[in-house]
Symmetry: C2
Amino acid sequence: MKPANLKTLALELNLSISTVSKALRDSYEISQETKKKVTDLAKELNYQPNPFASGLRKKSSKTIAVIIPEIANNFFTLAMDGIQVIAQEMGYHVLTYLTQETLSNEIASINHLRSGRVDGVLMSICSETSNNSHLEMLNDIGIPVVFFDRVCENLPFPKVTTDDYESAFKATQHLIDANCKRIAFFGGSRHLSIMNKRRNGYLNALEKNNIEADPNLMLDFNDNNEENLQIIGSLLSGKNPPDGIFSAIEKLAINTYEICYQLDINIPNEVKIISFSNLRTASFLGPPLTTITQPAFEIGHEAAAILFRLIEKKQMNDIPDKVVLKSTLIARKSTL
Amino acid sequence: MKPANLKTLALELNLSISTVSKALRDSYEISQETKKKVTDLAKELNYQPNPFASGLRKKSSKTIAVIIPEIANNFFTLAMDGIQVIAQEMGYHVLTYLTQETLSNEIASINHLRSGRVDGVLMSICSETSNNSHLEMLNDIGIPVVFFDRVCENLPFPKVTTDDYESAFKATQHLIDANCKRIAFFGGSRHLSIMNKRRNGYLNALEKNNIEADPNLMLDFNDNNEENLQIIGSLLSGKNPPDGIFSAIEKLAINTYEICYQLDINIPNEVKIISFSNLRTASFLGPPLTTITQPAFEIGHEAAAILFRLIEKKQMNDIPDKVVLKSTLIARKSTL
């Protein structure tokens, strides 16, 4: 019989993996009744929380580091959940560094990892990262590294991403099918490969439909909220406004709603909007926002799973270079 | 003449402090034109980015650590912005640790700080933290510590919070004034002093209005989203549902919208909602959400300012024990 793991227990008890994990850690969040059910079954099935926590690996810190660029983005919230679930299953602590889209913080985090000891690193790079010299330091530390979402294409570490190009193509086609003629692209830093893929998906969808790309409709935004609002305001109140917007960044879609409310522009009648987003309130916005929703939890979970195989030196023969998980287009009223 | 600082430059050029700071760091986000304006004025006014970076303090790491519990909460996004602005002004890196509401991660973060060197710590505790033994380790490290928002009342560190009790009282009174008779309280971990203050504000507002508190309407939630949805669903579809909800936690208000959409319960006609929240989409929800909005940026900024006075040993005579900044009630359609 296969040894029981969190998943076995969760399936058997019809609970979520996260609930089972929390119950086993005696979290205050879980009722005594649920805790008893979980621990009873764990005993019955001889569940071992961390099969690798033997004396074999004394040098291990049982800690991994996660380096992420921002928190005003629900993608990372969900990805962190995915990482956390598997880290708990493996009996590891998670040390999370936020770089706040700032290169100097990213460098500080990596430097800090050299003094403190961790067993592996999960990383999503910040938008200021244009060269790899500090990332190559990760090589020097000599520990496993896995990139997720915002990856660095040139470094020899496994990468877990979503189908950015295909999703962007689909999003643009969705607007074209909804009769949009002037479709704007709202993107971010050209240092990020995911942004370039999304931009290319947009451009190729236009081309396939014989729509000429208009450089005035392709906007790169930065992290300055006030400036971004101004740019969107100018565009939408200008002479030749777009009738469709494909936003590659969640917060730009929120900015667009803000401007539309201010200028009394009707979504979707005057302008339709689709955005890459894991926004929890997408369905409750006025109007509900059509999204390209990334499998954020799964991306975090998969990246962590690969990292732990590297750390524990398990199934090393078939560690993938790249894993690409599919995003989903969820049509709502903003593009109706 | 007082030496120029970021604020002087920003005022003079009519730019935000953040833009000036980024321009001086040569961020890709800022246009060449703006950069030139900023650097020219900086030279003219003899701006010194970091007056303390002299040889006097060779032992400094020029790094502070920030420990926060969660990222699915716009309060912390904004607080981090406030911290970042002043850290940049002072020429410090910010190392941010996310504990994900998990005590073991909080302990791992503090342990990690003992091996890596930082000059000071800003901290907001996680909801699992019920005793202080690991926080007392912060004393052992021998570096300045400032708590913000979720503070630990018993430890001798400065604390920056909002007026949780008064705001909760006001929120409850707001629902009573809107004719609500059965007002529910949605709260969180009883380990957190801010939760207890908010609960007390609610209870005292009811008492002042001669409304008897109903224990069935006072709910404590945890971090398990599915369980929370279930609890809210049972309450709202039950025999004696509330006609008003005061949520002390942003995500519970979003959960409530989700349930109301599912069960086709009209907000505000059937149930009114007010929530502690810095949600960026609050105004664009259907209907817009009435919020108690915390001065999140200012809380982060103030906590960091105090920390830097401790680190740089400036104005040590009047370091406050407590700073309480006021929240604002913003009435929107969800309580109309």
